[in-house]
Amino acid sequence: MTDAAIPAAGAAGLPRSVHDNRFLAFNRRLIREKPLGAVGGAVFLLFLLAGALADVIAPFGLNETDMLRRLEAPNLAHWFGTDHLGRDVFSRILMGAQLSMIVGLAAAGLATVVSIVLGVLSGYLGGRIDMLIQRFVDAWMTFPDLVLLIVVVSIVGPGVPQIVLILGLLYGIAGSRIVRGAVISVRENMYTHAAQSMGATTWHILRRHILPNIMPVVIVLFTTRIGAVILAEAGLSFLGLGVPPPAPTWGGMLSDSGRSYLYLAPWLALAPGLCLTAVVYAINVYGDALRDLLDPRMRGSR
């Protein structure tokens, strides 16, 4: 962040237009230096819009069935064909985008908050608390994500709020490692020691010195978690343990209408899988580009 490093000191007092310019400048740099990442960001934004406007764009109702037009191949009226109940697959894909985005953003957001809280506690306070938290994180991370998810779902039951909560906790605890590392390196900086010796309170140091300086790591963490969370939700829904039907989740569409009717209507398997791949690929590429631009330590390591 060569261009951002200079105004950073007085950033809080700058008029709004300067912030906007910095945002624009950052995006220009993204497009110039990381074109693939910029495309990824744009594709993700497209899905985000599709999800947000799903109710407006969708040509058919979510659960509008038409038994006369079951398992139709893609055509002009039904762009992605129809499923075994005569529901329009394109409309359901849009609604699925909405669900994926809600789960993705909410769970990744929760995960980031959990990571910050645990990571800052562990990294800044250090000592015995750090030891305890880290051994817990170790133990937590030995369980495979999916097994942990399945076990927890078996206890709390399926549903959107549960899934968001579980995914947020799961990835939040795992991600706290990364925040902790960043906090430790910031903690050892001269300005932190200076603030400590001037008698600044812990809260003040955390708010004014630690948090602003770990923001690049946090932003990258949040971005990369979105993809992981969307994939995990799709996997759970595929197994019938995520968001229960008839909600149109991409994972669920692959397994319920998908698998039993696939031989008659193979296109049913294409749209949800392609969308999942596209969204996750887009956000991963964007996250990689952000990391290269925002996180100087990772720069060049590719």
Partner: protein, 316 residues
């Protein structure tokens, strides 16, 4: 080496303790009404009453007593009995664990044999078209859900060529060929999914190693590029990759759950899913515990390999 081994084993103790607390805690979180539901759903009311189920779940004593009792049982291999089939959980695990292990091992082999050559190629031909193609491929593999590929493999070959992957499980020692024919398709899908990370890591490590002084020395001695890459660079570049392979054990087991379900492989993943749908909590907690402990042991093994490969680690 012995000091290193002892240090590693001691470090394992707190992690294991926390892991056991997580499994135990998860089972304690089962809400009470689930027992009612379980009784209704499983129709076990004829064979068990509520108290019997609570006893089977170990819910009929103070928390700390429950934990000690449960831990003691787990340490002696007693993981309780399935509420559904009334067989010991330990024997169900003994029957399914080797199958998942085989799937994971095959997938790991696939992953290594894809990732290493491509990763090395990508590094020694940095920024060529081949490098970009390999890196794009690995990024895409990170995004493609394995359950989608699994579904496609089930469908499209049968639509196009009337071939579908075999779904009948045969134990390896009964008929190795039939067994492999069944396991290979899920293993390839799982292996490819996992290869992306290994490939990226191999590339980064090789790039780093290729810039070292001793590589320049080897070249200056007039050694062929082949010897420089395969003998001098690879051996050092691969050390961190070994650790990574250990870190992938959770991914392998997680992926196995889904692929076992698609391809009807009667492993631990399928056991877990069936148990979840039947709310068979002793089985769930058994699988949960075994995956956690198994992964810890795999990582211990990896650490030991690491110490053996890189003498510097031992003496730290």
């Amino acid at each position: 080496m012995r000091a290193f081994l002892i240090r590693r084993l001691l470090a394992l103790v707190p992690t294991l303790l926390f892991a056991s607390l997580i499994v135990f805690g998860a089972m304690r979180l089962i809400p009470g009404d689930v027992i009612d539901l379980m009784m209704a759903q499983n129709d076990v009311s004829t064979t068990h009453d509520r108290a019997a189920i609570e006893a089977a779940l170990g819910l009929d004593a103070p928390v700390h007593v429950q934990y000690v009792r449960w831990l003691g049982g787990a340490l002696t291999g007693d993981l309780g009995r399935s509420l559904w089939q009334n067989t010991p959980v330990a024997s169900q695990l003994a029957a399914t664990l080797p199958i998942t292990f085989e799937l994971g091992l095959l997938a790991l082999l696939v992953s290594i044999s894809v990732a290493l050559p491509i990763g090395i190629y990508s590094a020694i031909r940095q920024d060529t078209a081949g490098d970009y193609a390999a890196r794009s491929f690995s990024l895409i593999m990170l995004a493609v859900p394995s359950f989608w590929i699994g579904t496609l493999v089930m469908v499209f070959p049968s639509v196009w060529w009337r071939w579908s992957p075999p779904l009948e499980y045969t134990p390896f020692f009964t008929d190795p060929l039939t067994n492999l024919r069944h396991m290979l398709v899920p293993a390839i899908i799982l292996g490819l999914a996992i290869s992306a990370v290994t490939m990226r890591m191999t590339r980064t490590m090789m790039l780093e190693v290729m810039r070292q002084d001793y590589i320049r020395t080897a070249r200056a001695k007039g050694l062929s590029e082949r010897v420089v890459v395969l003998v001098h660079a690879l051996r050092n570049g691969l050390i961190p990759v070994v650790t990574l392979i250990g870190l992938q054990a959770p991914l392998l087991i997680g992926g196995a759950v889904i692929l076992e379900q698609i391809f009807v492989v009667p492993g631990m993943g399928l056991l877990l899913l069936e148990a979840v749908f039947q709310r068979d909590y002793p089985v769930i907690s058994g699988v949960f515990l075994v995956t956690g402990v198994g992964i810890l042991l795999i990582n211990l093994l990896v650490d030991l390999t690491y110490g053996w490969l890189d003498p510097r680690v031992r003496h730290r």
